[in-house]
């Protein structure tokens, strides 16, 4: 999820630039307000690391449009991963910081890339342990397909068809000092199993 470009991958296409990312967030904010009919009882929960940054941007946008602050929390799903006992060393755990009670709120879960759906599964379980939200919807900047679980997004910045050997790299100013969504491919497209390439992606889900 938060792995920078490593060797073996090269940029194949720049699918979103800074302006496209900005417009996508503004549009999603409007869609949320339309579907949720305002910001009452609404809260955003971003998945570490880039989902959390996007959630903060989305909250800012919602406040500009609706003139009400929307609470934002940060969720670390590490302890809920389904592959913890299969990977070593264990990934670094960061804190979950949700400074409000999620019970009875209408939550929007925010992440950068929707891929297998496993991260979202983990996030749903984590939220469940924090309380009982009235509803949970999902907003993502990019949906790249290849779901392995019955999960879908309610708000999508951009659908990007990919194959399993490719990866999507979301770069945000706050972390990466650049702003883009990049489609990357292997230097030499490997004929082998997609699972291996996914592990290398760090896209745990």
């Amino acid at each position: 999820m938060d792995q920078p470009s490593t060797s073996g991958f090269h940029e194949k296409a720049r699918v979103m630039d800074a302006e496209a990312i900005r417009r996508a967030i503004v549009r999603i904010a409007h869609e949320i307000l339309e579907r949720q009919k305002g910001t009452a009882d609404l809260a955003l929960v971003g998945i570490r690391t880039r989902g959390a940054l996007l959630a903060q941007r989305l909250a800012k946008e919602l406040e500009v449009i609706d003139r009400h602050p929307v609470p934002v929390g940060v969720l670390d799903i590490t302890l809920y991963r389904d592959d913890l006992s299969r990977i070593a060393p264990n990934p670094i755990v960061h804190a979950t910081e949700i400074p409000f009670d999620v019970t009875d709120l209408r939550l929007i879960l925010v992440d950068d890339v929707l891929f297998t759906g496993r991260t979202i599964r983990a996030a749903l379980n984590a939220l469940n342990d924090l309380g009982r939200p009235r509803t949970i919807q999902l907003a993502v900047l990019v949906d790249r397909g290849h779901r392995e679980l019955p999960i879908r997004a309610d708000y999508v910045g951009k659908n990007i068809p990919t194959n399993l050997q490719e990866r999507i790299d979301v770069r945000l100013n706050e972390l990466d000092e650049t702003e883009a969504v990049v489609l990357e491919a292997h230097e030499v497209a490997p004929p082998d199993a997609p699972r291996a390439s996914r592990a290398r992606n760090g896209e745990n889900a």
Partner: protein, 325 residues
């Protein structure tokens, strides 16, 4: 809203040790990794549902050859909050009292496919011996007067929490240094993270050549108190009284006990710490133990988060290909 959304993105170090035996063999970076991980775990115990599934299906054995309530309970709750299964074995009720050797006990436990052994023993080095023979992870919960790594880690965590740093602080450890595994682990950890450590005790309770660990030595408690940012008091162990290392507990209190009067020499923002159990009115007066500078109960709370972090980290260490066992 001060959310640290980005978090430390550049975290290169990962935990690769199967066991946690002592702070002596940890690097400063490894110690910081434990503290950072514990920081993330702290919030879990504040939730209405105090449980995460991280160690689901793992089995932790608390194997205590010495009585303990605080440490054992802390490890037990830490494991439970991570969804591990915990088995407590007190040696009084085990086959060890029927003559089984320690290593046979371990072999039997490993035959039951356990994942982590938390071990306390009155003899120094027993957890190390076990770690060499076991394929499961071993956590030292106190061995003789040698090391008590999780206590030192929770002390470091508490200092970091209250002071915002450890480097450059003056920490005085006062009490029975000679018999204290807490002191030894504390000295390793504090000096590695850049604190200046002073130890203070009657000469009979100070090991010779303790300066070689990089600490300052004083026999004058006022000198240890003056200028200290942290005062760590250690228990005077009644059971050592037979050896006549101090003339009497009353005498010890008069010369070394921390009361309100002595505390007046301390910095205005001093922290008072104690690993427990406290002998009120001996090394520490109630007025100080319950006073505004005391963080003794914060230590207990933080101990839980630290032990959760340690269980999580050792459990995730890369497995070596079947050791000897």
């Amino acid at each position: 809203m001060a959310l640290t959304a980005a978090g430390p993105a550049t975290q290169a170090l990962q935990w690769t040790k199967k066991d946690l035996l002592g702070l002596r063999e940890l690097s400063a970076e490894e110690i910081r990794l434990v503290l950072q991980t514990a920081e993330s775990f702290r919030e879990i115990s504040l939730r209405p549902i105090k449980k995460v599934p991280a160690l689901r299906g793992k089995t932790v054995v608390n194997l205590f050859f010495e009585p303990s309530t605080r440490t054992r309970t802390s490890f037990e709750l830490a494991g439970k909050r991570l969804s591990a299964d915990i088995v407590n074995i007190a040696t009084q009720s085990s086959s060890l009292s029927k003559g089984e050797t320690v290593l046979d006990t371990i072999r039997n436990l490993e035959a039951l496919k356990v994942d982590i052994l938390v071990i306390r023993h009155a003899a120094a080095g027993v957890p190390h011996l076990i770690a060499r023979h076991a394929t499961s992870s071993v956590i030292n919960a106190g061995d003789g007067a040698h090391e008590h790594p999780t206590q030192a880690l929770l002390d470091l965590f508490t200092i970091q929490e209250k002071k915002g740093r450890i480097e450059g602080l003056n920490v005085s450890i006062i009490g029975d240094i000679a018999h204290s595994r807490v002191a030894r682990s504390g000295i390793w950890g504090l000096t590695k993270l850049g604190a200046r450590v002073t130890v203070c005790a009657p000469p009979t309770l100070l090991p010779t050549q303790i300066e070689q660990l990089g600490v300052r030595v004083t026999y004058q408690v006022e000198e240890a108190i003056r200028g200290a940012d942290v005062l760590m008091l250690l228990r005077i162990q009644h059971e050592r009284q037979e050896a006549m290392l101090v003339p009497s507990l009353r005498e010890y209190r008069l010369r070394y006990g921390l009361d309100r009067e002595r505390l007046a020499h301390a910095k205005p923002d001093v922290l008072i710490m104690h690993p427990g159990p406290v002998n009120r009115g001996v090394e520490l007066d109630s007025s100080v133990a319950d006073g505004p500078f005391s963080v003794i109960l914060d230590q207990v709370t933080n101990g839980l988060a630290v032990r959760m972090a340690v269980l999580y980290l050792v459990c995730g260490a890369p497995k070596v290909d079947e050791g000897e066992a």
